[in-house]
Symmetry: C2
Subunit: 78 residues, 2 copies
């Protein structure tokens, strides 16, 4: 069973990586870019028996720093 | 207009970050984790006038290393 975890910075948290990407895009001549936020996408291949609670615990204990990051769990069908 | 870019390593490309996460999850006692792949999620806030071609070009020129990475563009409605 495939599961995707999206980890993004909470609003208001400074995002130096996003700022650097934004600056680089403008340097390459791309207009119309108002803001860039960089985050993580973690794809887990799990046994079917792994529960939602266990996945949530993986996020809270390791995959996301819940002080400054939000996470979203998405089960991939099929 | 909000757009998400998902950047993931191509199959067969070694993923040391994924391996490290996998190893750490097992060290924390989580069973049933078969594989972990780490990627990037980049959220762009763009003017409505920015075209699909321009976004694709941003990906090819900066956001993804197309030699070892795939990218997927997702326009976020609303």
């Amino acid at each position: 069973m495939k599961t995707r975890i999206f980890v993004t910075l909470k609003g208001g948290v400074l995002d130096p990586q996003g700022k650097a990407i934004h600056h680089a895009l403008e340097g390459l001549g791309f207009d119309g870019v108002n803001d860039v936020r960089a985050g993580k996408l973690i794809e887990l291949d799990l046994d079917d028996g792994v529960s939602d609670e266990q996945i949530d615990e993986m996020c809270r204990k390791l995959l996301a720093n819940t002080v400054i990051e939000n996470y979203r769990i998405e089960r991939v069908q099929g």
